[in-house]
């Protein structure tokens, strides 16, 4: 049951992230990438099997939760945090320099849609 809920939750978060990275403005893209990296972090944790109330070391008694995914997730969190921060700074800089927060650095030339909607 717990696995099913985690899986569904991950699916929803990933879908939201995918939707957001397909948007045309930089801020939704950054948010979308963060959401995806959250989902991935949880996925890594889930790959060590979801074992409640078990120590992350191997003991005489049966049952432990795999410590390696926990270590991996720590690294992944740090890296994705750094990368997201960098991307955010880059997006802000591009916005300052081009005057547009569109991912292409310029407002699209399409007609029929008021400027500002992404």
């Amino acid at each position: 049951m717990m696995e099913l809920m985690v899986a569904i939750g991950l699916g929803i978060v990933t879908a939201c992230g995918l939707y957001l990275i397909l948007r045309g403005r930089t801020f939704p893209v950054v948010l979308g990438l963060s959401l995806i990296s959250y989902a991935v972090n949880l996925f890594i944790l889930a790959m060590g099997r979801l074992v409640p109330e078990a120590p992350p070391i191997i003991t005489e008694e049966a049952g432990y939760s795999d410590p390696i995914p926990q270590a991996l997730v720590l690294t992944a969190i740090v890296i994705s945090f750094g990368m997201t921060g960098f991307l955010m700074a880059l997006a802000v800089r591009t916005w300052h320099q081009t005057g547009s927060d569109h991912v292409d650095g310029a407002e699209p030339k399409t007609v029929g849609r008021p400027a500002g909607t992404s």
Binding site: E3, I21, T26, V29, L33, I36, S37, A39, V40, F43, I44, A46, M47, G48, R49, I68, P69, L72, T75, A76, I79, S80, G82, M83, T84, F86, L87, L90, A91, R93, T94, Q97, T98, V103, D104, G105
Partner: protein, 515 residues
């Protein structure tokens, strides 16, 4: 234990950290420290290459933790070859950058070394997670290098590049953790043993993980549907940075070679040759589109960027044909293309600089200064990249064409390689004749932008490397042959990492699957 193997990672890392501390020091000092580090890196790479020549891969257990529990660095022939190629490319690029450009580029020297650290680490990493970590290191360094100057085009290209790579990293992590969840290991040698043992109901998941990895590496290598980030990034990046980036797509190629030969290689049972139905058509399409786009490019830098894509297509054509001869040809072509594309980026920059506002657009413009020297250099690079005999591009393509003989794919491969070679030749000839001969303003422009001696030396060094690849084609071919043989029988790699007696060393495959 042989500590030589950490040198290609630790040396650039500590030197870069030192240069960050000293970033207010005069630029001459940063140059000399960086040059010393880069040259020592070259020496270390040569030393590693001579040690793996015998055929046993070098293994370094970080912190002396035995694999598969600890982190290992492994240098087999392929890793050593790519380490040496990186170390060969770095000094000329550094020399070119040190002719004044680096004084305006903030933090160029530390970033250059961090990039080298990421590249070397990716080649040496013995497990998938560290491969991921070193990818991130080289990516973050490459973002900052590509941004130098904060011009709008660079910002835009880097934004796209960063976004696609962060998404790719997420997919990479997903694939890595999926493999871990099923096999219980991340060590590549150990994975090679274990994917053959997965239960039948898990085979599909391992296959998914493999294809996800292939997708991620295709983004790094700039393969057909996933290369759209590359032309804008490479053509707008500063020339020395673009020249260094010619090695970056090769990391993706390396990773594809590594997982297809080691993890999904000869021992993988039902998962063997997972990627083969996909890779050849994709590689050929990449090659065709790269050559066509290079032919129609509007700037020299854009042309070179598309030639990078075409070169990746050629190498992966070789990889997907499979077999020792094709692998060997692909590796030879990899060395050739990296050096020559770096050379073309630098020549394009020099030509563009002396044409004033016309820059490097392939359009009639003012006469360039030092037209004879630059023209000859362009002629040489263009002919080499297109594969005119007897230059290195010809040898690489010739070996590749020979290696397909008898295979099923002989007709499409011969057709595409020969047609794209012609296309590249005509494209380079067109670009060169328009830029160098179709002169609207016969007066030479001022000599302020004439190439300096150091820049000529950098060009000469890269050209000489390409010529040496021809002169010493025999020994190089011998080495790549041995490398291909080693890749195709991964036992020596696995034995070197895990040791000969490895039964009972590790916990058994998780019984519950995904409980």
């Amino acid at each position: 234990m042989n500590h030589l193997l950490v040198a290609p990672i630790l040396l650039p890392m500590f030197t870069a950290a030192l240069l960050l501390v000293l970033h207010r020091a005069p630029v001459v000092m940063a140059r000399s420290v960086n040059a010393a580090a880069t040259l020592s890196l070259f020496a270390a790479s040569v030393a590693i290459l001579t040690q793996v020549e015998s055929g046993t891969p070098l293994v370094y257990q970080v912190g002396n933790w035995p694999p598969p529990f600890g982190i290992v660095l492994v240098a087999d022939r392929l890793s050593a070859f790519l380490l040496l190629l990186t170390a060969l490319l770095a000094p000329p690029v550094l020399l070119y950058a040190a002719q004044g450009w680096d004084a305006r580029a903030r933090y160029f020297h530390p970033l250059f070394l961090f990039q080298l650290m990421g590249l070397n680490g990716a080649f040496l990493a013995g497990d998938l997670f560290n491969l991921f970590v070193f990818f991130e290191i080289l990516l973050i360094a490459s973002y900052c290098l590509a941004l130098q100057g904060l011009v709008v085009e660079r910002l835009r290209a880097t934004l796209h590049y960063a976004a696609i790579n962060i998404a790719a990293s997420s997919v990479f992590l997903m694939a890595v953790s999926l493999l871990y969840g099923i096999t219980g290991t991340l060590n590549m040698a150990h994975l090679a043993e274990r994917v053959a043992l997965v239960r039948t109901e898990d085979v599909a998941l391992v296959r998914v993980a493999g294809l996800l990895l292939l997708g991620v590496f295709s983004i790094k290598a700039a393969l057909f549907p996933l290369y759209f980030w590359l032309p804008a990034l490479y053509s707008n990046a500063p020339a020395p940075v673009a020249a260094l980036f010619s090695m970056m797509t090769k990391v993706g190629v390396y990773a594809i070679i590594r997982i297809t030969t080691l993890i999904y290689g000869a021992e993988a049972g039902v998962l063997m040759e997972l990627t083969s139905p996909w890779l050849l058509p994709i590689a050929l399409i990449t090659l065709v589109l790269g050559a066509l786009s290079a032919f129609g490019a509007g700037r020299l830098a854009t042309m070179t960027a598309y030639l990078t894509i075409a070169s990746v297509g050629t190498i992966l054509t070789a990889v997907s044909i499979g077999g020792a001869a094709a692998f060997s040809a692909g590796l030879y072509y990899l060395a050739h293309s990296t050096l020559v594309i770096a050379l073309l980026f630098l020549i394009g920059d020099l030509i563009g600089r002396s044409r004033g506002d016309m820059s490097d657009q392939i359009h009639p413009g003012p006469q360039i200064g030092r037209a004879a020297g630059l023209g000859l250099a362009f002629l040489f690079a263009g002919a080499t990249v297109a594969g005119v005999p007897p230059l290195s591009g010809f040898l690489g393509k010739f070996m590749l064409l020979q290696s397909v003989n008898g295979a099923m794919a002989v007709v499409p491969v011969w057709t595409v390689i020969l047609a794209t070679s012609l296309l590249m030749l005509v494209g380079c000839a067109r670009a060169g004749s328009i830029v160098l001969w179709n002169v609207t303003d016969p007066l030479p422009s001022d000599s302020a932008h004439a190439p300096r001696a150091g820049e000529w030396t950098a060009l000469a060094a890269l050209a000489a490397c390409s010529l040496l690849l021809v002169l010493f084609a025999g020994p190089v071919k011998h080495y790549t042959d041995e490398t291909a043989a080693q890749l195709l029988s991964p036992d020596s790699y696995i034995d070197a990492v895990l040791g000969p007696q490895r039964e009972g060393l590790v916990r058994p495959l998780q019984t519950g699957g995904l409980r």
